[in-house]
Symmetry: C2
Subunit: 337 residues, 2 copies
DNA sequence: TTGAAAGCGGTACCAG
DNA sequence: CTGGTACCGCTTTCAA
């Protein structure tokens, strides 16, 4: 294991010069710096993590807490974890996982032992118990998602309400006055925060734009194919020709199946907007206008904020809502007749 | 931030006594120990992670490398990550995530900087590049899965070949002489190691037991519903009444659908054995005999081995194959006529 | 532009 | 059974 001393000896300088040359925190003459970098590279020098933490009071590690609930949608969840890890790594941070039962206990533990520089919170519940912990630990904590009580918290999330507004506006602008919202599962309206926010946005805007809105959950815990199908068919029978879908892959496919069976063409006979989808809607058999929920965006912003907070601890806590964007794909035609 | 000095002061002892009392590495009189524990608890003392790493040359962190490939089945993968985290935590270790591109670079980095005590390798490919790295780093590395070249490696995995044998044996014992194996996706036969091993086990035993075996992949990258359906129907038309399924949830459901459509009853008209399923087959609409792949078992064993290696670094590298178990559920009746 | 040296907060050896 | 203390390897202040 090569230490800073060996590098210093090899380069014929003191260890402090090595430290400064490598960190860049103090100007070092061009040629000694090169000698040091050469030696470091040649010896495969890598600073000892423990020593660095102790002396520098920086661990270069972020904790990521993720309570895996029964209703967690694995692919979506993985996308968030991956996006966080990638974003963190780009800024020089590793991710320490706190899963399951250890989310709360773990937050306290890693904070108290100075194991991490910041804590990122995933899969935020409306009454999340991690909110209380975030308020007591000194470690900067960033929520990716919004709990109900946001006082003094730093949170990052897509602006789901605005996404709801946007979806309705597009349909209203096109001329539709009746819309069916195919939502998330019932449990997610209780255990998560974002489905409600999108729903509220859709409802608000439907009211103000005089849209006759109906909506339905798409299962109790996981997608209920029969229920989704029944809802879609009932709506179609009833003459509804505009849909907002805030749901997983499966639900989109079921809706598209039903439409296909009836010979209805998306973008001609029927309008669809996929709101806050975290999967790639381009993989659907039919092009669909989408207001995407991009895990990379939320996670990168969260990491960015964490880094800023470490650089300037006096930055005030605040809520960061990411404005939704509308990706048109021709699935919202003017209504027939 | 309470340090060991404050605890020592509060308890009226020296810091070394505190250290020993809390680690238990040296006998400490009952009453001083209590005083120390009280003080520690009262002050919310938690040893500084950096200091501990530096002085103790132990980080109490395991790295977990997981290259998330396109064909990674998210739910299964998550089950493994979760199981590893839980097992590690039980032994006092945290998990540092190395995902995606950083798997190889990350292994070298965390090993060279002494950030982790051991590395656990998930999602092992036949020609995994992490094999070479494992051989060069001093950090103990445990593979959860088998690469092709296993020389000098420590690996843990279900004995998929034995699982293949077991599945065939049960069907052969019951009296079947023709079997269809519904396998994994095509890409997984190239990118992973275990599907081949199960296939080989099934083929070997089919030969020795005089079974007429046919088999098919169940899609190229993800489940191809139409293809699975077609395979099942062709086999049934052909008179096959025994199935081994080594696949995800979906494939099981498609097969059960086809059988239901034809009025064939599992456990009466048709035999099914689910081999190496990593999801809970009890959630299927019909009870199915299962040779489960239990992530907890593999991951716990991997963690266990890692801990042992840290305690005794001279333990030899070896392959640990977990014997399969057969969970009967009445889905293998004697053949009709 | 560089070096010397004082910690950072523990662990574990050496004494008593 | 307990205390003193020499490190662990790096960061950073102080001095030159």
């Amino acid at each position: 294991m090569t230490t800073i001393h060996e590098v210093a000896a090899a380069a014929g300088v003191s260890i402090s010069t090595v430290s400064y040359a490598l960190s860049g925190k103090r100007p070092v003459s061009e040629k000694t710096r090169r000698r040091i970098e050469d030696a470091a590279l040649r010896l495969g020098y890598q600073p000892d993590a423990g020593a660095r933490m102790l002396a520098g009071r920086r661990t270069n590690i972020f904790a990521l807490t993720e309570p895996l609930r029964a209703d967690t949608h694995a692919p979506t969840h993985m996308a968030f974890v991956l996006a966080t890890a990638v974003a963190a790594r780009r800024r020089g941070y590793d991710i320490l996982l706190l899963t399951d039962e250890q989310t709360s206990e773990g937050m306290n533990r890693v904070a108290a032992s100075n194991l991490v520089d910041a804590i990122l919170v995933l899969d935020v519940a409306p009454d999340d118990e991690r909110v209380a912990i975030a308020r007591t630990v000194r470690t900067p904590t960033i929520f990716i998602g919004l709990p109900d009580d946001q006082r003094d918290l730093t949170c990052v999330d897509l602006d789901f309400e605005a996404a709801g507004h946007l979806a309705v506006d597009r349909l209203a602008d096109a001329g539709y006055d009746r819309v069916l919202l195919l939502g998330q599962t019932e449990v997610s309206y209780r255990k998560s925060n974002f489905p409600r926010r999108l729903l509220r946005g859709v409802q608000e805007r439907s009211t103000s734009r005089d849209i006759d809105l109906s909506w339905t959950a798409t299962g109790s815990v996981i997608t209920d194919t029969a229920a989704v199908r029944a809802s879609a068919e009932a709506a179609l029978d009833d003459g509804v020709r505009a849909f907002i879908v805030h749901a997983v892959n499966d639900v989109h496919e079921i809706l598209l199946d039903v439409l296909a069976e009836r010979g209805l063409h998306v973008g001609a006979d029927v309008a669809i907007v996929s709101a806050a989808a975290s999967f790639d809607t381009a993989s659907l058999p039919v092009a669909v206008d989408t207001i995407p929920l991009v895990p990379q965006d939320s996670c990168e912003l969260a990491v960015e904020i964490a880094v800023q907070r470490l650089e300037d601890p006096r930055l005030p806590a605040r809520i960061h809502l990411i404005p939704p964007t509308y990706r048109a794909a021709g699935s919202v035609p003017p209504p027939r007749e």
